[in-house]
């Protein structure tokens, strides 16, 4: 613009790098700590440069776990988290896309009531109904199971709204064309609508996967067996109240492993991620 842009540009670069440093510093410290010796860290003498225990610490973290009583390999926790995250993401997309299809492409009694019933669940996050939901899951014998971890979180007003909106923009001619070709409702859904929804589904998947992987309160409540723990719950249990016993390099390696999949998804699929975030607006 009119003013001397040179200096302002340097200032902008400078401020952005400070921002990046603030954002990255805690993670840098975690990575560094996961390569060091516990005794050094416990003494408050952690070095700010990488140590030499990288392979040893990560091997123990993934395949063995902490030495404490709740020893559980973090590899297994990651598997639990992965199953839960995939079940939540795929489950939400699957049941939302078919309900949106029914609501947009059919006319049937209670259509609008059903739409509102789904919509209002936006106002019932798991935090406001934890113990009654826990009781139901317990009555259904789903504690400590993948079904218990994922099913109660699988409804999605946001995804249903998103697909509904998208279907409304699909031209009517497509339906008429496929009808002329003799296609029924399921054929049309499978051959025409699903391929058109691919980008939307992918963007939504990225967001929902992160959401599922990062679940905490719910898995904390309903898993009691160590082998059903997700990584987010596992890491909390590694921090013992008596500080002396906490194995910090393993805790930090677990933190790094817990961040890896969702951060990878954000960075590798940045376009879809941004799209999904803006579209779901939450």
């Amino acid at each position: 613009m009119v003013e001397d842009e040179g200096i302002r540009r340097y200032v902008a670069h400078f401020i952005l790098w400070i921002g990046i440093a603030i954002v990255a510093f805690p993670v840098y410290i975690a990575i560094i700590a996961s390569t060091q010796d516990n005794a050094l860290i416990a003494n408050g003498q952690m070095s700010l440069l990488p140590g030499g225990h990288f392979f040893e610490v990560y091997y123990q973290t993934i395949f063995v776990g902490t030495s404490g009583s709740t020893r559980e390999p973090v590899g297994n926790m990651m598997l639990n988290s992965l199953v839960m995250a995939l079940a939540i993401a795929i489950g939400k997309i699957a049941i939302s896309i078919i309900s949106a299809y029914a609501i947009v492409y059919f006319r049937f009694p209670f259509r609008m009531s059903i739409f509102w019933i789904i919509f209002i669940t936006l106002m019932l996050p798991v935090e406001v109904r934890i113990y009654p939901t826990y009781k139901i899951v317990a009555d259904l014998h789903m504690l400590d199971s993948y079904a218990g971890l994922s099913l109660p979180l699988i409804a999605s007003a946001t995804a249903t709204l998103l697909f509904r909106q998208f279907f409304m923009t699909v031209p009517d001619e497509l339906l008429e064309a496929s009808r002329i070709d003799g296609a029924g409702p399921l054929r049309f859904f499978w051959d025409t609508l699903l391929p058109l929804s691919r980008t939307n589904m992918a963007a939504l998947f990225v967001i929902l996967f992160i959401l599922g992987w990062n679940q905490y309160l719910w898995p904390l409540l309903i898993t009691t067996r160590d082998d059903m723990q997700t990584i987010q719950v596992g890491i909390r249990k590694m921090i013992t109240t008596t500080d002396a016993l906490t194995e910090w390099p393993i805790v930090m390696a677990t933190a790094v492993l817990a961040m890896l999949p969702p951060v990878f998804v954000v960075v590798a699929m940045q376009k879809l991620f941004v799209r999904g975030l803006v579209e779901t607006e939450k």
Partner: protein, 293 residues
């Protein structure tokens, strides 16, 4: 919201909505209803009989100083987290909106903390600022600060706010950047030609044009601070020291763990439900919506 071209079928649409409807009714409405009913009931000490007590559980709840303190604390945390995170993210977004070399790289390097789970955020920050072994605590102590968030309630609260705001920077940055990029550049040029200096341009042009984004983010951040800070608090302080970092969600959780008063626990859930309804209502009423009915 209806297509002109539709399919005719009696049973198929019900079959299509059935899975979602079943989950919603079993895991959302039924427990929510249970909470509402339970909140009007009082169980005797042995759990043998229950009686209907109208709003007694609610009255008891609001008379409880610990609950009132948690309400105040939750609102304070929410605003502190929202304002600190929003202002820092706005500064970064304004800088990243300039035509800079490597602006895509900046975006990538700033958005990834969105993906870090709240409990992990808690672990990262308590490790850096741990009283006995934290990397930053060393310097704080060297500077003469009596730093111990595990004993000092105010320091613990500050730490929670800092960590929670840190996580939310990326989300706010992304939406601010999108908001800024949606403002036509010609508006800035016009202001510049009129002789407005950059700072003035920001406050008189950018800021007002960005106000819908700011308002939207404010609501989202408050909802975030209400609910998603649970994981941060649980790994960092577990509500302590004392009760100095117990928020409303944390209180529902920890009171429930202790067992005890079902009616009071249910009343707490219902109060939270009402808060979510109000916040969601505000979001849909005032924030520009894409949804039409």
């Amino acid at each position: 919201m209806q297509k002109q071209a539709i399919f005719q079928s009696k049973l198929l649409p019900y079959a299509l909505v059935a899975p979602q409807l079943a989950i919603v009714l079993i895991f959302f409405y039924w427990p929510a209803l249970q909470a509402v009913i339970q909140s009007f009931l009082l169980q005797d000490a042995f759990g043998l009989s229950t009686s209907f007590v109208w709003f007694e559980n609610y009255v008891e709840l609001f008379k409880d100083p610990a609950y009132f303190a948690a309400v105040v604390r939750t609102f304070f945390f929410s605003f502190a987290i929202a304002i600190s995170s929003l202002s820092f993210a706005l500064l970064l977004a304004v800088m990243a909106d300039k035509p800079l070399r490597g602006s895509m790289l900046y975006r990538t390097l700033l958005i990834w903390p969105y993906a870090v789970a709240p409990p992990v955020v808690g672990v990262l920050w308590i490790f850096m600022l741990h009283p006995s072994l934290g990397v930053i605590s060393r310097y704080l102590r060297a500077a003469g600060v009596d730093w111990n968030p595990l004993l000092d309630g105010n320091q613990a609260a500050g730490l929670i706010i800092l960590a929670a705001a840190w996580k939310q920077i990326s989300y706010n940055f992304l939406f601010f950047l999108a908001g800024l990029q949606a403002i036509p550049k010609s508006v800035f040029e016009a202001a510049a030609i009129d002789g407005a200096r950059p700072m003035r341009r920001f406050w008189t042009v950018t800021f007002p044009l960005l106000s819908p984004t700011i308002f939207f983010l404010l609501v989202v951040n408050i909802v975030y601070a209400f609910f998603d800070t649970f994981g941060i608090i649980d790994t960092m302080t577990r509500g302590g020291p004392g009760t100095s970092t117990v928020t409303l969600v944390y209180k529902v959780y920890s009171d429930g763990l202790l067992g005890g008063n079902l009616g009071s626990s249910a009343a707490q859930s219902v109060v939270l439900m009402i808060m979510v309804i109000v916040l969601t209502g505000i979001q849909f009423r005032f924030v520009e919506r894409k949804v039409t009915y």
